[in-house]
Symmetry: C2
Subunit: 263 residues, 2 copies
């Protein structure tokens, strides 16, 4: 059973979507909020936001402590997905997607993506209610770096859209796919796990273990998207490395988070 | 003498640029950082970041307390400017700008804008050094709302690019220009002034006065860009309202921040 078919994932995902539905109301100006609502809820679901909640629970935190951060992560991914499908003159034609090419024109897509990102940061900054502001600031730094220029999503996007290595370096196709999976799925899942660990009150050692565990989860989930089977060598290697990291939590309940290694 | 020719503005602007030059180093991956550096430093200068520092000083704060926020505001404006000039199929042709159409293609411009915004939030979140994290979170909320969907920049961008009122409402041209100036320049300057007030340790009353004062500064600066003269009725009205707000600070040194009313 793949991760996204497990009851655990379904329960985490349902909580995140309920929170977002409460948060992104369709209000004035409608021309801004209506596409935002649509694009957020129709973008493909990933395992990053749920992993954030799972990591929070693993270190002994309560799910609600990480719910706005998990939701912000979902928003960031929806914004990236929206911009990724913008038709631009120096890109290959727009890829077909479940929401793009149909409902809104490129101008609305651009502006909606541009509006979703600050909204995500607002959710983060408003999430503490006067408590744990240091943890929130730390989470904001982690997310900024992962979705921004620090060798994460933006870097991966360059590779995806230009189809070449950075700085003119030549890469064979497989190498390049691996690199994009690492920088995109690996980096984002790693970020999600770290944020959950921070917000759940994990110690520094736990947080660093979660950083590595999240990275392997991202590699596995990225490979699933590319159609890899569960006995593929690279999947097996990543899963073994992930399980090795989880041994650190031997006195904790790891069965739930282990489902993220399902393919 | 216009605001941007005064020694006070020049000194504030020089400090912000020096801080940004230290912060945005050209590092690997070059394909990400080189355009970011270029687009940030060639985007047109506005009075928003400097107003943030001036407001901080007005309430008795030190300039360095607001320098990363002022720099983040400059980054947000550079990102908006970059995306504003992206050629999209459902927009009028790209407007000529000092940096667009020449150095980078649309794909790099899109991704660079997308990378600059999280970098700005990272600057904000890293700026406190463990102190005043509540103030920083408050500033993040203010900036998210102004540059995001909350009736600020995104709303103004819709109007600018579609040239029409929201929700199908019809507006005459002058009304529409006024609306864009209010939502764009007014909102951003208001945000800049509030952030400076918060970081400089202003009381709630001072902060709310700065919110109004900043709004009028934005109206005036927006009208300058549109070529209005200093004796234009709307400029005179905005300046009088701004000066009225400053009377609240009668025991403070207001001459410096008053230069923001120059046209």
């Amino acid at each position: 059973m793949s991760m996204t078919q497990t009851p655990y994932w379904a329960s985490l995902q349902a909580d995140i979507e309920a929170y977002l539905k409460q948060t992104i109301t369709i209000e004035e100006p409608l021309v801004v909020f209506e596409p935002m609502h649509h694009l957020v809820f129709t973008a493909p679901k990933t395992t990053v936001p749920a992993l954030c909640l799972a990591a929070c629970e693993l270190v002994g935190g309560q799910r609600h402590q990480a719910i706005s951060t998990a939701s912000a992560l979902l928003l960031m991914e929806a914004a990236t997905y929206t911009h990724e499908h913008l038709p631009l003159t120096d890109r290959p034609g727009p890829k077909p997607g479940p929401m793009i090419n149909h409902v809104y024109g490129p101008n609305v897509e651009l502006l909606t993506g541009d509006g979703i990102v600050p909204f995500g940061f607002e959710l983060l900054a408003r999430s503490d209610g006067g408590q744990n502001s240091e943890r929130i600031l730390r989470v904001i730094v982690e997310i900024s770096r992962a979705v921004g220029s620090g060798g994460g999503v933006i870097d991966a996007q360059y590779r995806k859209t230009f189809g070449g290595g950075l700085d003119g370096e030549e890469m064979c196709h497989v190498e390049e796919i691996r690199c994009v999976v690492e920088k995109y799925e690996g980096r984002l899942h790693s970020c999600g796990a770290v944020c959950g660990g921070v917000l759940g009150g994990g110690c520094e050692e736990e947080i660093e273990i979660l950083r590595k565990f999240g990275f392997y989860v991202g590699i596995i989930q990225g490979m699933i998207k590319l159609g890899f089977k569960e006995d593929h060598k690279e999947v097996v290697v990543a899963r073994n490395l992930a399980i090795q990291e989880l041994q650190f939590f031997k006195d904790k309940e790891v069965d739930a988070i282990k489902t993220f290694l399902n393919i």
